[in-house]
Symmetry: C2
Subunit: 328 residues, 2 copies
């Protein structure tokens, strides 16, 4: 690997000048600049990121923590993050925590030790310990879809209350009155908001909230399947407002196993956008544009990395993507 020294030696100039050229310092004579670039190309020189990192104190790496990589909710957001990051020569480091706070803490510490340029935590788990951990890092942090009350961080999030409200409203519009809600853990901010939107929509339509109709589970398909069993034990339930798509899939799978069919025997809604193939399917849904959320968060993170002193931002993306198979 060629170094800055070799280039300097080859041209009979000092390495400072070479460094200036690499870093686009204007104080270099045009001729010198050109000859340096020429040799850089000749020698296929690549700056040593680690050596540079030692001085600048950081590496061009951004840690992105997601709860479950198989969940399209995270996957779609990651697409947006990656687009912005790689464009600016930063490298996304995706970490799949499986909602395990200990794992997340461990990775954040590693990112700190490796002097990452930034961190984007995207899991919805509230956790004091994690908050402590995040307070200790010395790089910018932008939160996606989560709040950390004690920390003054930029926050980008979809309007989950609105999404859930709209999804529930669609079910009500379809004529349903006994609507179950599948919720995630109550320690998740996102889940809490979606539960709230569901309750608000019911109340605004004069339907009393019945706690018995709210089922709590994990956010995966298996959990949806398990809750499906409990849920259909209530013979009077005609619709389900599911926290997320994966759980909804699980419910539909269970329903099928007992001979019930979506749209015919019951309606089901998700409080988030669905994977592409399901965009015009039997699922009612309402949610924000996840890729845009990912992009926006990353843009803000990059600005912070470049030491922007803008005031703290809290950006809410409305639930613009709404679909109801019985309407559209």
């Amino acid at each position: 690997m060629a170094t800055i020294n070799e280039i300097a030696a080859k041209l009979g100039i000092s390495k400072s000048t070479v460094s200036r050229v690499i870093n686009n310092d204007p104080n270099v004579k045009e001729k010198t600049r050109e000859s340096v670039w020429r040799v850089i190309r000749e020698l296929d020189y690549k700056p040593n990121i680690i050596a540079r990192g030692m001085i600048t104190g950081s590496l061009p790496l951004v840690l992105v923590i997601v709860g479950d990589i198989q969940n399209h909710y995270f996957a779609k957001t990651i697409i947006g993050i990656e687009k912005v990051l790689t464009e600016k020569d930063y490298m996304p480091v995706i970490y799949n925590s499986m909602y395990d706070v200990e794992k997340e803490k461990r990775l954040i510490r590693m990112a700190k030790d490796c002097q990452f340029a930034g961190i984007i935590p995207m899991t919805g788990v509230r956790s004091n310990e994690l908050e402590e951990c995040l307070r200790d890092v010395d790089c910018p942090v932008v939160l996606i879809n989560r709040e950390l009350k004690k920390l003054e961080l930029d926050e980008i999030y979809g309007d989950d209350v609105e999404a859930s409200y709209k999804a529930t409203q669609e079910l009500i519009d379809n004529g349903h009155r006994v609507i179950a809600h599948l919720s995630g853990s109550s320690t998740s901010t996102v889940s809490a908001k979606r539960r709230l939107g569901y309750c608000m929509a019911l109340e605004d339509n004069g339907i009393p909230v019945d706690e018995v109709l709210i089922f709590e589970g994990k956010l995966d398909m298996a959990s949806g399947y398990a809750l499906g069993e409990k849920l259909f034990a209530h013979s009077n339930i005609t619709a389900v407002c599911s926290n997320n798509f994966l759980m909804a899939l699980g419910v539909v799978r269970y329903a099928k196993s007992i001979g019930k069919t979506v749209l015919k025997d019951f309606d089901i809604a998700c409080c988030e956008t669905v994977p592409d193939l399901y965009e015009e399917s039997a699922y009612v849904y309402a949610g924000a544009d996840l890729e845009e959320i990912g992009k926006k968060a990353t843009e803000i993170l990059l600005k912070r990395i470049e030491k922007s002193e803008e005031p703290r931002q809290k950006i809410c993306f409305p639930a613009t993507q709404v679909y109801n198979p019985k309407k559209d």
Copy 2:
């Protein structure tokens, strides 16, 4: 952040001794060692990974390239990789290429520039350019489920021919004779092998291979859905051997849209293990244990990073996980 110098100063010893303690050099008096550790704890000292990296020439980061993070095939393997890696204080850097060779090349170059400790490419795309790119890196590389003929690299892979063979055999055992095959791109080694296993099983059972029954597509659900339409145009097809699970899901979804039901109207098999919730479902499948593959590959990579001079390894994991809903 405390440094090695502060610790040395505080104890009135040299930084070399501190460095020795940190790196578990046996040539340190027990008393000295203890006092150093005490101060390390007092000052909450963390070694600067970047500074260390400058000397050792590498960072404790391993790049893992997958084609599609939403595909459980990759996700399951990643679980195994992450377990081994974090245990040894390495950090997994997952990159989701969406099967885009350009993106992969870019990330590999970044990993090289950042002096990553190792790379695990897991996409099945054959590509000369990628091969060039991988030849240039100076860290160990272990391949999962892919071959690079020109490079002498360790390779860990599931026996895809066997998986496909077994899956097809199960369909034949169920009485099928007109079995379609959904294949991935022919530039993918894995896809080519699965196609081969399908053909071999047919031939071994005296069923001539009919090219018309082989459909090529992308490896996602949408593609399966699209191919479903072509496929069911052949009214005589009674079973489908799908390259992967996502495509199979797509087919089943399309089938449903035209009123066809799995197990009743047709059988479908996947040449890989399925996500947990589908382990005892309507899908026939055969495949290797993906988590084990991930673990094994990572163990070998770690050994290479520690300069093990073992001969090159090619480890094949047989398709031990077989399921047929009509048998079990």
